[in-house]
Symmetry: C2
């Protein structure tokens, strides 16, 4: 067995020091930007490698700037309305805009100022010398510097260069970066992988990042966890690329060969950076080229590349350092971090009035969707143990604040209908969007209280009255400030494997021997329902195997059952239907939307209410199945102000 | 002759109305975004055309998240340090990160928490069920919406889609836009065009703009000014493109056929917009596709496309409207505009302390370099007649403020050495840049007074003392606040055509009959010198033909003489050398740099002083010719505080 680890090879260098030392090492070993000659017409967005001088003047001749006639200005000097100058045919030349100024002429008179007669043209005012003429070099002169070195070439600069006879120029080469995916378990993407197979999508993420940064990515074939094979692939990649990244195998596990391979092929500057995620990053130089070993988890890889490869690309491409944008936000809950690392925490951002609220997202480094959903990154410095709930923090933005401003933040109980609301809102107009997180009904009430969200789905049964939601709101919002909007009635029941092989007939059966249950998290409406059902049936939940196994959505529970990893779980009909599961209906329940009054009058909330009442919404719920609509979008009750 | 014009066809519609009506007309005629299916791996930056749902869960199986062993958690529940649990070989499975969780196991224990013995593995604390396991769907669940419609696809979204088995998806098609250059005088770019030939660079500018906006440009061959030919080209372009622009010929002149051609092939919504530049823009629809007639002057074309084609591309590509960024600035001089148009004025921006100063640039619509040099656009609304000197104005930014912040604004007297300073400053570091405008020595003094610039080149001779510059500064800065830095001594003289065919031997010869002179603008040091030389020689400048013909740089004067358009002009040796002209030396003069004290201690100024003292600068001046260096970069005098 292979449980022996080699942790001793990992250092724990602070981020800034590692980056600075690495860039300095690259410069010391002569790594630098390369140049190439390109056609001007194809140079948009490139960076000049040397100063560009005008070869010819623009315009390159004295050009008439109006349709009319050209002549010697002195012929007109005495012309007035009462005594016009008559210019004979042989003394002027008809010209169009762009025509060269004819010899002997030094002025142009516009067509609309001319009076044609049989004997010539009448002029009724003096024409100033050089009027309506674009003199040679008016725009730029031969020999003038159009652009200095290291300037980004804009569309208008292309025009200026071509106008000045510059049809090719020297630009900084876009660095080519090789990506080598490694791993025995890693396979090319498909839609039906087997257990233990890992879809290789890191190289796709990294390619797209590299393209954004102006580099040219080249992805090589997947290499098995074999040092000789990895080395062969690295040497091959180095022969055609300006830099190489080796994906996964960067840690110090039994099958992690990146470090030893890079070290053999060149040198390792650092292995192990004091960041989380991203610690097992390797910064190497082989054959005068940067080689970075990237951790296998996608979030770790994204952070490692952003912190280390991006500045390397800027260095190789001679582009200005990317300027990160930041915003001040209020942290919605405590974040605990260790003194060992600088931690990068993905956060969702939303406005509560004019206050920007940051909600930490799933910190798992395998959870690539957390990066997709993140609006920003909160960095916890190494010397801090975290931030308190309510702390004022500086968040690095991953999308513009104006997108965040018009976004509706939904949370609370999970229901697939939230996805459909997001879609309907989106198709209403590009400026509107909705993002959902799933924290259960009680989590939704807490989020609304903390002003972290604009809408929360809740389905909380008051055992005493049999009524849904209202008594919970009265209790948690004694001063009001929220509105309850009717949404749907939905079917709750036990989701069971297709054909119900273990013959489960009631909630009490989940306590049977040999039955593996999967539950929802504490505080979710479904968990509260489950606890209550068990109490009502007299089922001892301590005897239910897996009662503490918690999932955060109906889909997650259904997925566990569909995969054969559990035998039953409480959830809604639409989730059972989506996963082809059997469904033992237990009850109908009221799923409503809780909305703070301060956002009630915003376009995003008013649009949402319209959508709830729409036929399109009803159609989508019919597709999902298990819903009854009575008065969706109607205000059930407004609580205080 | 062809002086008949058809101005009656041009309307003068306000910008917003024209744009709104045009977009509405497009929608009314069924123009809309098209979709296409692409591989997920190639979809970065694209926009989803429909919601994307997860096909499989990510991860798609319960995966071990650590190297170690997997087992049933209950085997460890009673383990403590004093009474460890001994797990026999057949009761656990060694696992690596990513392995599927073996059947019957519900927990993973990390390798470093294991104690291996001959009879099995010792565990000294209870393992929680489902610890160190990435449960199926932890990241996303099958059926979950990954992205709604009309979402831009980020790198991490690519990863999320592939992880969820989505290997292709429907995206909005990037619109293909055909560009048809027209004009008898227009030719393909080269570096030796004849008089009357116009290099076709507009299509290159427009292509680059279209690519920036996410469209695919296709440039067709140049078409002569012939309505039948233009129509043929338009019909052909419409057959393969989603939109077409016809370049030039959009006005109402005798050879302007765009409007009639578009009108014949479809309909013209508007011809003539109340903007300047850009008035003769044509907004048309042919065969259900947008067709825009664009004015021929590059600046007009850029404005017209930015105002009309960009929103069309956003409409066809279903992308979020581009958000323009603005900054408040102080206008450095009066801007006069007409009530007939909304005017777009290119401005240069620079910081004087924390105040942003906007300096209007050349307003000629043929001057493409003014767009290249512009940092922003000042819009003068149609209902205003302009802005006063010192007015607080809102400027649309063309580059980020942080670039403007670190930029050194140079002005005053022209000398090609300014270009070389810009280049040396640039090669010192990407964050530094210098931009120059040429307004003459007196203009430089005025600009420094108005805090519009950080450095001004001046060479002003005090006739009374024979000393340069100092007395002018004493006069114009009675309270000081500036420093005078020594730069170079340079040779002034008469620039003459190669071989001096008109046998000019002194300044007095410029008044001879048959001699055409070209002068520098009033207020320039060279003009002041010329006036003084003429006075000294007793030359009557009224008798000098072309004494009022004014150019703004030494190069421009040299270019006019080199082109045979004038016989003589006063200027510096390096300009004569650059244009291969004869040079009749008249004197040496002192060219210094005037720098306001408030920027003295900034890195950009201190870097500049270093560069002036450097060998690299001396080498470059040697190449240019005609300079003598004594103590460049030394402080000649500091005036007050």
């Amino acid at each position: 067995m292979s449980v022996e680890l080699r942790f001793e090879y990992l250092t724990n260098v602070p981020l800034e020091k590692a980056r600075e030392d690495y860039l300095k090492a690259l410069a010391d070993r002569g790594v630098s930007a390369k140049t190439e000659t390109v056609k001007t017409a194809a140079a948009a967005g490139r960076v000049t490698a040397s100063p560009v001088y005008a070869k010819i003047c623009a315009p390159h001749y004295n050009a008439c700037a109006m349709d009319g006639i050209a002549l010697a200005a002195e012929l007109t000097f005495k012309a007035t309305e009462t005594s016009p100058a008559l210019i004979k045919r042989e003394l002027y030349t008809p010209v169009d805009t762009g025509d060269p100024l004819p010899p002997g002429c030094d002025t142009v008179i516009m067509a609309e100022d001319l009076i044609e007669t049989d004997s010539g043209i009448k002029i009724i005012s003096a024409a100033a010398p050089w009027q309506h003429i674009r003199q040679i070099g008016e725009d730029m002169c031969a020999g003038e510097m159009i652009l200095p070195s290291f300037s980004e070439i804009t569309p208008s600069a292309l025009g200026a260069m071509i106008a000045c006879g510059v049809n090719e120029l020297s630009v900084v080469k876009r660095p080519t970066v090789g990506i080598i995916p490694t791993g025995n378990e890693v396979i090319m993407p498909n839609d039906d992988p087997r257990e233990g197979e890992v879809l290789e999508f890191n190289s796709v993420i990294f390619s797209a990042m590299l393209s954004q940064w102006g580099a040219k990515p080249v992805t090589f074939d997947i290499v098995k966890d074999d040092p000789a094979e990895i080395k062969k692939a690295l040497v091959n990649a180095l022969s055609e690329c300006d830099a190489v990244i080796v994906c996964a195998g960067s840690s110090a596990g039994s099958e992690d060969y990146s470090c030893s391979v890079i070290s053999e092929a060149g040198e390792v500057i650092y292995h192990g950076i004091a960041i989380k995620p991203g610690k097992p990053t390797i910064l190497g130089i082989c054959g005068g080229k940067p080689v970075i070993g990237v951790p296998g988890y996608p979030v770790s890889g994204i952070i490692a590349l952003d912190e280390f490869l991006r500045p390397v690309i800027e260095f190789l491409g001679n582009t200005a350092p990317f300027e990160r944008e930041f915003a001040e936000a209020v942290l919605s809950k405590q974040v605990v971090s260790t003194l060992k690392y600088r931690e990068f925490i993905r956060v969702s951002l939303g406005y509560a009035g004019d206050k920007l609220i940051a909600v930490p997202l799933n910190r798992g480094s395998g959870v690539v969707s957390s990066f997709m959903k993140a609006d920003g990154i909160l960095e916890v410095p190494q010397e801090l143990e975290g931030y308190d709930n309510g702390a004022q923090v500086k968040v690095r933005l991953l999308r513009p604040l104006r997108e965040i401003e018009s976004s509706l933040v939904a949370t609370g109980s999970h229901d697939p209908l939230l996805d459909e609301l997001a879609e309907l809102l989106r198709s209403f107009g590009r400026e509107l969007s909705m993002k959902s997180s799933h924290v259960g009904s009680m989590g939704g009430i807490t989020a609304i209280k903390r002003r972290e969200a604009h809408v929360a789905g809740i389905h909380l049964l008051d055992e005493a009255t049999g009524e849904y939601n209202v008594s919970f709101i009265e209790k948690h919002f004694p001063n009001g400030g929220v509105s309850l909007v009717e949404c749907v009635s939905r079917e709750q029941g036990l989701m069971l494997p297709k054909g119900n092989p273990k013959n489960i007939g009631s909630i009490g059966d989940i306590a049977r021997d040999g039955i593996s249950y999967v539950n929802r998290q504490k505080g979710s409406g479904t968990r509260i329902l489950c606890d209550w059902l068990c109490r009502r049936e007299g089922t001892d939940t301590k005897k239910v195997y897996g009662y503490d196994r918690e999932e955060y959505t109906h889909f997650a529970v259904a997925a566990v059952i569909a995969a054969g990893s559990a035998d039953a779980g409480l959830g809604i009909y639409s989730a059972a239907k989506a996963y082809g599961l059997d469904f033992l209906k237990i009850c109908d329940e009221q799923y409503d939307l809780l909305i703070p009054n301060f956002v009630w009058d915003t376009p995003r909330v008013q649009r949402l209410l319209e959508i709830l009442k729409s036929d399109a919404f009803a159609d989508r719920l019919k597709q999902l199945g298990g819903y009854k609509l009575s008065r969706p979008g109607e205000l059930r009750r407004r609580f205080g102000e």
